[in-house]
């Protein structure tokens, strides 16, 4: 498994992938080009004050993530990772609440299992998609919120209202 596949396996949100690649790059810089004491990944994460979630995820990658990375290819490799992100299927998701890490993982997993195993998600909080969600893919917006549901069943709803109005 390549370093990028390892990162992708544990990161579902596009912003998380970018941030974690950046942290990895900074770690590699201090490892290969930094002056003074060389920190291991755990020590570096503690020093850089990354979030607990990122600490957990990056620590979970294990030493395997660094296999094959040398001083010479460190930059090229991280640049290639950044470029490769642009090639991944991206879905912009709109949900009505602020998701926690568990929800993000669950949603990301769902997309990997049901849409594409390399799918990245760009999650946005949007209150108007109450009762469901909406997403945009390849420039097309899909509304699966309550509003979208009502809009799709607009004629039936109007028929019901008309019949009710006639009874009044």
């Amino acid at each position: 498994m390549t370093p990028f596949e390892t990162i992708l396996k544990t990161s579902f949100v596009k912003a998380d992938v970018h941030r974690r690649i950046r942290v990895l790059r900074q770690f590699l810089e201090q490892k290969y080009y930094g002056r003074g004491e060389k920190l291991n990944l755990k020590e570096f994460l503690d020093k850089e004050k990354v979030s607990d979630t990122d600490k957990t995820v990056l620590a979970g990658w294990g030493p395997e993530i660094l296999e094959g990375i040398t001083k010479e290819n460190a930059y090229d490799l991280t640049d290639a990772m950044t470029d490769e992100i642009k090639e991944l299927p991206l879905i912009t998701l709109y949900i009505p609440f602020e998701p926690d890490e568990a929800s993000i993982q669950r949603i990301g997993t769902w997309f990997r299992e049901n849409v594409d195993k390399r799918t990245l998600v760009d999650i946005n909080v949007e209150a108007s998609v109450f009762g469901g969600c909406a997403f945009a893919q390849d420039g097309v917006y899909h509304d699966y919120s309550l509003r979208g549901l009502l809009s799709r069943h607009y004629q039936e709803i109007r028929t019901v209202f008309d019949q009710y109005a006639k009874q009044l």
Binding site: D100, I107, Q137
Partner: protein, 241 residues
């Protein structure tokens, strides 16, 4: 004494005095170198003679003048009385003629005035009658014309009002239909908003994060079922982002 007589006397005396004065001056110039005594006596005699002659002459003149004055006065008295009588008679005649003429004139004037008044009254009555008739005719014509104009105007106004009312009615009906359609369109658009708002208000506080998360997965499952993640997704609402 009559004034004319007095005047004759006065002229005669004046003439006599002038003669005496003239004579005395003449004697003095002629006999100046003679002796004063003889001359004085002579002159005195002559003077007395002259004076006597002058007095005589003056008396003659006076008598003559008096006589002539008396004659003249008599004549004048005689002719003045006749003249007065003639004048009085003539005056009476003239007065009588003038009175008669005046009476005739008064009578004629009165008659003419009465005639004029009568004619004037008749003319005025005739004029008034004619004017009244003309006025009545014109008034009647005016009333008829006005009535015709009013009827025509009323008909025109009525037709115009009918047209305007019909137009306004049609316009109002059209506006009502437009308003109705607009309100229906707004209501149609608002149906979804209202329903969403009702559901949101009803469920928002009751839904937990887990419930909302479940709705998200259900929505995603539905999208998958609708093949929303493929290129073509029938039944899915799509719009460009």
């Amino acid at each position: 004494m009559d004034p004319i007589t007095v005047m004759v006397y006065f002229v005669a005396i004046l003439f006599a005095l002038q003669c005496v004065t003239f004579f005395m001056i003449l004697q003095m110039r002629l006999h100046q170198p003679r002796t004063f005594g003889s001359t004085l006596m002579e002159n005195k005699a002559k003077t007395n003679s002259v004076l006597r002659k002058a007095i005589e002459q003056a008396n003659k003149i006076l008598v003559t003048a008096e006589l002539k004055g008396i004659q003249l006065i008599s004549k004048q008295k005689l002719s003045g009385g006749e003249l007065t009588d003639q004048f009085n008679a003539h005056l009476a005649t003239i007065e009588k003629a003038l009175q008669d003429q005046l009476e005739r004139n008064v009578a004629h004037t009165e008659e003419a005035y009465n005639s004029f008044i009568t004619q004037s009254e008749e003319m005025i009555k005739t004029h008034i009658s004619q004017n009244q008739k003309a006025l009545e005719d014109k008034a009647e014509k005016m009333v008829v014309d006005t009535e015709g104009l009013l009827q025509k105007f009323t008909v025109e106004v009525e037709e115009k009002i009918k047209g305007e009312v019909a137009g306004e009615l049609e316009k109002a009906k059209h506006e009502i239909e437009v308003y109705k359609g607009e309100r229906m369109r707004v209501l149609d658009e608002r149906i979804v908003d209202i329903l969403e708002e009702v559901v949101r208000v009803t469920l928002d506080k009751k839904l937990t994060l887990a419930d909302q998360s479940d709705f998200v997965y259900k929505a995603l499952e539905q999208a998958k079922k609708d093949n929303a993640f493929g290129d073509k997704t029938p039944g899915a609402q799509k719009k460009a982002v």
